[in-house]
Symmetry: C2
Subunit: 231 residues, 2 copies
Amino acid sequence: MVEQAHIADTAALLNSALAPSRRIVHAGEAVYQAGIGFTHLHFAHSGAFKVVNLAQDGREQIVGLKFRGDWLGLDGIANGVYACDAVAMDTGELWSFRYDALLAACAQQPALLTALHQAMGLQMAQSRNSLMSVCTLPADARVANFLHEWALALQARGLRTDQIALRLTRAEIGNHLGMTLETVSRALTLLSRMQLIAFPVKGRRDIAIPDIDGLDDFVQDSLAGLGPVLH
Amino acid sequence: MVEQAHIADTAALLNSALAPSRRIVHAGEAVYQAGIGFTHLHFAHSGAFKVVNLAQDGREQIVGLKFRGDWLGLDGIANGVYACDAVAMDTGELWSFRYDALLAACAQQPALLTALHQAMGLQMAQSRNSLMSVCTLPADARVANFLHEWALALQARGLRTDQIALRLTRAEIGNHLGMTLETVSRALTLLSRMQLIAFPVKGRRDIAIPDIDGLDDFVQDSLAGLGPVLH
DNA sequence: CGTGTTATTGACGACCCTCAAAATGGGTGG
DNA sequence: CCACCCATTTTGAGGGTCGTCAATAACACG
């Protein structure tokens, strides 16, 4: 898993083995775009990013969210062309590497290859879990599970989880979870009524999570046949 | 993408660089199981396999289907433990490699690393597409899209697509696509009534697909707002 | 302070899930 | 070879969840 210490190790390894080109990106800025040739992988040193998959027929979906320690651009490996758009959700720093240079460095530094493969494996695991969430959980539980995972991701990186900034609109959350924005909104008010989340005094974009495990309990409860307590 | 020629190249490469341990598996036999330590990757030289993701709470879902040329066991890379069960759906031959030996060989043979990464990239692409299918398509179109992709997978491997053996129950298809077995059944009868698929004289387990592109047209039509022609 | 985007909430309807029954086919033993 | 059994599939009827449409409210921006 991604942990604070593990991220620092990887960063040090990258610094010693290669000369990363650092790049500051701002909210809304594209890291790369679907369709352009795949040349670089990007290591997120800070920031938050969304990865949007594009189909030929125009459908688009947010398939991943990336934070410090995650890699961006893996979707370009399969076909030599990026399959997704990657967009910064706030200011962040990226370390970019030519893919061929990275592979060459991996030949010298086995630990580098291990780190890269773990990142790829982690991405596959996240995809599996997303699919299972969408296929097996009702809408409310899906939102709860989404928030739970977001909080865990922040926690693993040593960030505060009692007050998190989603940086996604209800429509984007719904797009990612396979439901409409209205359903997202209703789920959030339900969770808030159940005291599993809370909105700060002003604005409903940020969310406070008093008890992370409570969200997971809610998910497990909705699996237990009978809907969760309270309507 | 996976193509017949590409598979042969990879197989030759594996043979020259390593001494794969060959293994014949039969329908229903487990290739590996979730929870056991990750040691080997398995290259499918022939056969058909299902990959079943297991959650701690007991939920399970078919997250992937593998054929000749695909790799099995990638789900173990992230945590050093397999995250899924892999089960043979009919008789097939696997070439198994110790992961560490494979990595060592990759250091000598860059082409081997490229092949491995492409396989990983392909798996990520398939996961993205599964997620998008579940999140953006109505049930009928999801089934049509599923059959379309299955047919394309067989086609890319030089197998006949006019008569394919699914080897999955309706319940398993539904589990994979996020719907109930009844919905799968109804979707299949609809597609059959529309002449997009046909059942052979005896048994409804095998499916004939007269026109592969017709299935994709059906998917596109159901995206165009108004439901497909015919009810 | 005004305007446009985003979010909330309600009413209604459609799609799909649930429950149930019948039919088909594969497999086994007589 | 046939009869039987059981898993799988089909098909129907009804209900619940979530999508659609719409109006209102809250917020962010200049």
